[in-house]
Symmetry: C2
Subunit: 221 residues, 2 copies
């Protein structure tokens, strides 16, 4: 079956990274199309995701799938013959979904207060929330290799993209990720040993450069 896969994405995005990793895990070739965010959204992005108007969008044989946590599940369900991403057991699946939902509800909002604000109170609030949330996730990881146990999976894919932003959180939040989250750092290293991850994440320096530019652009620095 001839499969056409196009990914509308933005390199530093931790949400885009989820889809890139999932596609790599399944060994799927795809056409990558970088959006010129935040200045411009391509007509194709607006056509394919008219409701949320956000990347990432995966276009599979002309049909769009939106929202990273939904796209990853879609990829796992369509190409279900290799490298499972979600566990097959319904309870383990519900647990994985719970943690991905926790990441979606809590992490980006907290992180944004650090990188995209310069009101001291808001930055401090963001820092407090971010560290608290990372600690909750550290507690869930415990002594396991990955969030799901011995196997790299859905929660790892959902969280690892944030690691490319750790330098930014450290710079703008004046914090040390290693001191705050000592258990998370070895997990990040373990994930980065996977080619699917190392190939998919933007380099932290690149993310940092983009953040420096964007902060100037929106008048924060």
């Amino acid at each position: 079956m001839g499969e056409e896969l196009i990914l509308l994405d933005f390199l530093p995005s931790m949400f885009g990274a989820r889809v890139r990793i999932a596609l790599e895990e399944k060994g799927l070739s795809y056409e990558y199309r970088e959006e010129e965010l935040p200045n411009k959204k391509s007509p194709l992005l607006l056509e394919m995701n008219p409701v949320q108007k956000k990347i990432p969008v995966l276009i599979h044989n002309g049909k769009p799938i939106c929202e990273s946590f939904i796209i990853v599940q879609y990829i796992d369900e369509v190409w279900n013959h290799k490298t499972p991403i979600l566990p097959s057991d319904p309870y383990a699946k519900a647990q994985a979904r719970f943690w991905v939902d926790f990441i979606d509800k809590k992490m980006y909002a907290a992180a944004s207060k650090i990188t995209w604000r310069n009101n001291k109170e808001e930055v401090e609030e963001g820092k407090k929330e971010l560290i608290e949330n990372f600690k909750v996730l550290e507690g869930e990881l415990g002594d396991k290799l990955y969030f799901g146990g011995d196997v790299f999976g859905f929660v790892d894919i959902a969280l690892i993209g944030f690691s490319a932003w750790f330098d930014c959180y450290q710079t703008y939040g004046n914090l040390s990720m290693e001191d705050e989250c000592p258990k998370l750092i070895p997990w990040v290293k373990r994930c980065l040993e996977r080619e699917s991850v190392s190939k998919s994440l933007a380099h932290p320096n690149k993310v940092h450069d983009i953040v420096v530019k964007l902060r100037k652009h929106i008048g924060l620095d």
Copy 2:
């Protein structure tokens, strides 16, 4: 197989209603336990959902499942032999998940500005957002019987609980749901014809009474 199902819930909750409907659709008996919200959270709720501390929580043979959209998927996956809730086709499933996610991201926040604020600007903003979002959903419903087509399913379950609050939106938002969303009203009536729905939703008068009390309690009226 002896199944023990306990639902920690709060009657007016549109999120709790999703789980009640899904359990009814599958013909499952369960023990309903009402939380005394917003004043008190039971020790069992705090033990079973220590991270989000929110209802609904379904406890299946002692193990908790949290977040209504995850619980409904869990119920559908465990009791998969009857009355499917999500479509089996991965693309249709991704679409259903997208709309449930839209409801979760947009509807409650907008509705809360109407029912739980008395700052005029915020109420107006909530009203504008709520109507806009309902219109987007009306567009998605189109001329179909249900959101998924001819069969009652995931998106219907996710949205119908809001209908028990329409009276409150009308009262506090000074709007007419029938005028604003003429296509949604017949869909509500159609859903309410299903026993799983009519048995599960709080009566609008009951919701209204609770809102009146809670608004007094938090000093809005």
